[in-house]
């Protein structure tokens, strides 16, 4: 009996664990090993450089720094705007509004499209002469704003981000809706009897009970922001002047275009480690608090 109890978890875990180890863990470790070398992937010329790649990325590679900055901008934007909007939509559409299912579908719908398609669709929206955004801004008298946003290094990333929000807000919205529906009515009723105002109930009841939801939303949003690629590459190709490069696209260039496998792997591991440092403590912290 005893033996069986200890074996059981491993048996149930086995299929997932095996596949996970083979597909994700071992290849990642291989990539980690590669990041310590100067190699093009094929020649016999393979030189161990220790942390050399990691250091040269920070000290010499201007595009890497730009990419890192862009990912951080995207991350901050996602954590605030995308999550904020998702939460707002969820709060609105959680009420007993007529047609709320219809609206939920509309806001979730863009999430179904792939990044490449979103890139084409929104490049066309922003097109300086044939795009709807340009047309609309001119029509409402804001011609001054009707610039080719995508070709200005100062505005390109933000313009792409708007498209990113359009595509991505559906997921946090749906997650928050679920979280909200799991909250029982009692605390609210008690609070209203006590005379609490809407903002107070939101702050002291809703938010704390959404803590678990925030974990999932936070984790998926952060990972998504660090890995973002298709939509940016599709809309500007990393330009103008490499100003919209991100870690994923720069890693692609280094590995597959320039044949610097070590550098490409180092970029990957920067990405992974940044996510790790932020997400893991947060998840563990929340797990401890929620499950007393």
């Amino acid at each position: 009996m005893r033996l069986k109890a200890n074996f059981a978890p491993w048996l149930f875990l086995f299929p997932a664990l095996f596949i996970y180890l083979m597909v994700i863990v071992l290849p990642s470790l291989y990539s980690l090993a590669l990041s310590f070398f100067d190699w093009n992937g094929v020649s016999a010329d393979k030189k161990f450089v220790g942390l050399g790649n990691y250091i040269s990325l920070i000290t010499e590679d201007t595009v890497f720094r730009t990419a890192l900055k862009n990912n951080l901008i995207w991350l901050i934007g996602s954590l605030t705007i995308m999550i904020g909007l998702g939460l707002t939509f969820a709060l609105i559409l959680n009420r007993q509004l007529k047609g709320r299912v219809f609206f939920r579908s509309i806001f979730y719908y863009p999430y179904v499209l792939s990044g490449i398609i979103v890139a084409i669709v929104w490049s066309w929206m922003y097109h300086p002469s044939k795009g709807f955004v340009t047309f609309f801004l001119e029509k409402i008298g804001l011609e001054a704003l009707a610039n080719p946003w995508l070709s200005d290094p100062k505005t390109a990333l933000y313009a792409i981000f708007i498209a990113g929000v359009w595509q991505g807000v559906g997921l946090p919205m749906v997650l928050f809706l679920a979280g909200l529906q799991a909250i029982p009515r009692d605390p609210y009723e008690a609070a209203i009897i006590d005379g609490a105002r809407p903002f107070q109930t939101f702050r002291y009841i809703t938010l704390p009970l959404l803590r678990d939801t925030f974990v999932i939303v936070f984790a998926t949003t952060m990972v998504g922001a660090m890995k973002v690629y298709d939509i940016i590459y599709g809309m500007t190709g990393g330009g103008p002047m490499n100003s919209t490069q991100v870690l994923s696209s720069w890693m692609y260039y280094q590995t597959f275009k320039y044949n610097y496998i070590g550098i490409g792997s180092a970029i990957s591991w920067y990405l992974i480690v940044i996510c790790l440092i932020v997400i893991v403590p947060y998840v563990i912290f929340i797990s401890k608090r929620s499950h007393h």
Binding site: S129, S151, G237, G239, M241, F256
Partner: protein, 444 residues
């Protein structure tokens, strides 16, 4: 503790299994003993079929090509299989970006196909330099390639003096413009740069975008940049620049970038063109007019978009230098250097078949610009023969294949910067040279 003890043997088993499999894959049994002596013990081709024993049974080879050629190459390959029943070909089609990536991944994991489509220059050299593509110089001599293929194509198939591809297409680039537009303004094909600029001014005055160029991904704008460099630097210096033997801080580079900026400031490019997709920019050309610096494939592009190639006038970019060289490149088929000599033989046979005169002429309407020295002309693609004749007079390898890829991307970056006023042309030239030096340091 107890769980830990149970865990470690499990993990050990996984690792051992994985490593064993890895090791096994590299020395896979079943590779035929080499008869040619070109060092090939890795079995990379026969994934799904029999390896083919040395007694003359069916040889299975794998072929990778791009989607754009599939409409005619696929039937050609089927015909090849009929004529050569002892060879079977497994075909894979890729989009343009996908094939580059897949080839790199396959190279690193030693799973390259037996024959693959590739461009030239720094795209192909990776495979040639690292012993992945087969040296075909002897084959070229034995099979009399100089009598079959255009000498320009054979040159472009070389790396380090040796031939590494079977020539497939010989592409060259020139300027196309709508005939009726030129007739409307009473213009003739320009012979000098100044004349071309006059024509551009006329178009611009009449509300047409003279240079409907999309800068996204850099290559479309580069076609104009490189011709300006040819104009200001002359053929010899231009070649040295491309070979990284001359400094990019040269005045000719500065002048070329300055000229581009001048055109941009005059409004000759579409608004916001720097990140506009090439196909989107070309819409202006189709609907209103303007110049297209395009290549031998352009006739087909026009046709597939519903336009008549015969309505377009072609002329070489008037760089006013010597033979007025065209930008050019070759597409070809590379053969896997590490597969069995049987498969190599079959692969070479296939590649030569696809590019042989009879086959080419049969499919000439869709084939594009063959690398042959002689081929039939077709009304469907009237400019191909014209351009093939011109390219032999003089050509240089297109910049995004002549330079190493990271230097190419730097060129794109600094060109953008100059146009956007983020850098002066002098600074841009200096940055280019820095990138060249960096490349040389990383690749001694």
């Amino acid at each position: 503790m107890r769980n830990m003890r149970k865990l470690s043997p499990l993990l050990l088993v996984f690792c051992l299994a994985f490593l064993a499999a890895c090791g096994g894959g590299n020395n896979s049994s079943g590779s035929t003993p080499s008869t040619g002596g070109t060092g090939n013990n890795t079995d990379s081709g026969g994934r799904l079929n029999d390896q083919g024993s040395s007694s003359g049974d069916k040889v299975a080879i794998s072929f990778w090509g791009i989607d754009g050629i599939s409409s005619y190459v696929e039937p050609i390959i089927k015909e090849f299989e009929q004529e050569n029943p002892d060879v079977s070909v497994e075909i894979s089609w890729f989009s343009t970006d996908a094939i580059k990536e897949s080839l790199k991944v396959a190279a690193s994991s030693r799973t390259l196909p037996d024959v693959w489509f590739n461009w030239g220059g720094s795209f192909a050299s990776f495979y040639s330099a690292n012993g992945l593509a087969m040296d075909l110089t002897q084959v070229a001599t034995d099979h009399n390639w100089t009598g079959i293929y255009n000498p320009a194509a054979i040159e472009l198939a070389k790396y380090d003096g040796k031939i590494y591809s079977v020539p497939f297409h010989l592409a060259s680039l020139g300027v196309f413009v709508k005939k009726d537009l030129y007739e409307q303004y009473g213009l003739q094909a320009p012979k000098t740069l100044a004349e071309l600029e006059n024509h551009m001014a006329i178009m611009h005055e009449n509300g047409i975008t003279p240079l409907p160029v999309g800068g996204k991904y850099g290559w479309m704008l580069m076609r104009w940049t490189e011709q300006l460099i040819e104009h200001y630097a002359g053929p010899e210096l231009h070649d040295q620049l491309s070979a990284l033997e001359a400094s990019w801080t040269d005045q000719s580079v500065v002048k070329a970038l300055t000229k581009l900026k001048e055109w941009s400031d005059k409004g000759y490019f579409p608004k916001g063109f720097i990140t506009m997709a090439p196909e989107e920019a070309e819409m202006y050309m189709y609907s209103d007019g303007g110049y297209a610096l395009e290549g031998t494939w352009f006739d087909q592009t026009l046709t597939s978009n519903g336009y008549d190639p015969n309505n377009y006038l072609f002329f070489k970019f008037p760089n006013e230098q010597g033979a007025v060289r065209m930008s050019s490149f070759a597409e070809g088929f590379q053969i896997n250097a590490e597969t069995s000599s049987e498969k190599q033989e079959a692969a070479i046979k296939l590649a030569e078949y696809i590019t042989s005169p009879d086959v080419v002429n049969k499919y000439i309407n869709e084939y594009g610009a063959p690398a042959l020295s002689e081929f039939a002309s077709t009304d469907a693609a009237p400019h191909v023969t014209v351009m093939a004749g011109e390219v032999s007079a003089g050509n240089f390898l297109i910049t995004d294949q002549a330079l190493p890829q990271e230097v190419v991307d730097k060129l794109f970056e600094v060109t953008d910067a100059v146009i956007l006023n983020a850098m002066t042309p002098e600074q841009a030239a200096a940055e280019m040279q820095k990138a060249v030096d960096q490349y040389k340091a990383n690749n001694p």
